[in-house]
Symmetry: C2
Subunit: 360 residues, 2 copies
Amino acid sequence: MQSLIVKTPSHSYPIYIKAGILGDFSYFQPHITSKVAIVTNTLVADLYLQKLEHLLSANGVDCFSIILPDGEQYKTHDSLNQIYDALLRHYADRKTTILALGGGVIGDMAGFAAATYQRGIPFVQIPTTLLSQVDSSVGGKTAINHPLGKNMIGAFYQPQAVLVDLNVLNTLPNRELSAGMAEVIKYALLGDEQFLQWLERNIVAIMQRDETLLSELILRCCQMKADIVAQDETEQGVRALLNLGHTFGHAIEAEMGYGVWLHGEAVAAGMVLAAKLSEQLGYLSAADTVRIQQLLQQAGLPDAPPVFALEKWIQHMQHDKKVQNGKIRFVTLQKLGKACIDVIQDVAILRNTLHEYLPH
Amino acid sequence: MQSLIVKTPSHSYPIYIKAGILGDFSYFQPHITSKVAIVTNTLVADLYLQKLEHLLSANGVDCFSIILPDGEQYKTHDSLNQIYDALLRHYADRKTTILALGGGVIGDMAGFAAATYQRGIPFVQIPTTLLSQVDSSVGGKTAINHPLGKNMIGAFYQPQAVLVDLNVLNTLPNRELSAGMAEVIKYALLGDEQFLQWLERNIVAIMQRDETLLSELILRCCQMKADIVAQDETEQGVRALLNLGHTFGHAIEAEMGYGVWLHGEAVAAGMVLAAKLSEQLGYLSAADTVRIQQLLQQAGLPDAPPVFALEKWIQHMQHDKKVQNGKIRFVTLQKLGKACIDVIQDVAILRNTLHEYLPH
């Protein structure tokens, strides 16, 4: 078992990483109350819900489940309202704990429901995708999408604990494993060049799901995220670097329709664009960008965005949460392993960055 | 000018109480950003919106307004969504400040929008009713109603400042002034017997809107609330005492339909029931309850609830946020000026408390 503590001004909590946690009540017991609402989706429910319900019931926990449809396109107010309705119908009170059993979409929605139901009730993250294990379950960002922008409505709200069961990766589709690797590669690019080299050396075995390598990789990413969140819980400064590839990525998701590209796939293409923007700014060489593209390809990820008009890119990016006083801010790479923030006001720079991918 | 500071673990902020604040930019300037969204309702907009917009524009602030329908029945997700939509249409970002110009409904909704738009943006309360000046604008409770329960969806989120302009009380309808006095009387009953005597001595002049008395009364209530919130920001303990009369009151509002009884009116009747429950528990005498009823009458408030069935009372109260592990908790009065919390499990006690007001 590996573990670490996430320390934030509002609240500190543990992350446990181990195969078999879903069958071991001792990991749940210190972090839940006597009444529990499990929020999950149809896909994950088929695989793991019965096991978890049985574990809780066998240990005297009063639990009920809320099963939502699967996919980013359901990360909406309607789904959130289904959670509220079920909580109210079951007379959930401030001593009820929400368990988020699923990937990033479930974690974000269940976390936001926990943040706002009766002005806040406890919740525990049980991430079931690589992406949520290395990224979205840690750090307390919760949200739903709005038709005009991704994650526009949300809260910073920390869980009581994050329980990462390595066994769930055995049932993860390849496309989802790749999507998770996009965020893993993001950590390496923004802050750790040695980790980037480690990934390049081990990418083939990782994609074959070597458990030891996956455990090591999850711990490393969670530790990087925990360090950044401890410095900046509410994204006033350094935390924004975690959005490497996300300004372009969110535009791709919004343009294509949520769920058509997986979040990780959009971030992968977004990181290629962040690298090309960094070339425009004189930070990176073309060879650096190619190196990123090669690693993404080996991880089964796109290394280019879909083609759409510059005006669309700008329109979507103006709704980004990193916009301040109307200026679009990008996470760029000063070199591989070191990210920074740049305000780009010159549309020509964006046109040059995107020119291969604009319609002719 | 009178002022005080509300100190909470998450954030400290000032309350200013003065006639004419809406015409004095110096009270706004330290607490707002260069872009501002004013959230208000149709009624308040007619009276004060132009004045405020002019003040801000004349001082170089980029502002736009969101005007919602007036009334508790509009404290819904639909209204909240109107705020989100307007913020997105105007490209509001994390450096945009929301000004809540209105009573408790506007303050609660605008505050919740601020708490959740892009995971939190700054906001300033400008309460325009006595009720919101003495109670709801202070302490960071924000919320919307859900069809199954009042204030069920919300967040604890503190404003940057609370600006109380005494002049706005001149346009407040008598019924709203009375509703505000319900919360004022609540403070006296739950924590300050001397203040109760002061109110009994001055109630006639207060209802004639004596400005000095109103200023004194607002300061005293805000100070009591600030002290309680400083001890217990997220209502784990002592803060629950502020809900005196509210468990019964929320049931009245839910049963009658939001907006039929004003919140303050429902709280007034709820306090009479809390007193009668306190009699049942052997704390208060019948004379104490009569004394409360007389003061409520002098303040133009109901001293009895509407008639409906016991099952309805219990059904509504089981959705109260003070329910813990399924048990309904009531704020009761050990004596006039001292409140406590009691868990009532014996339905006979509730039946005796309500028996005058149950259908025959």
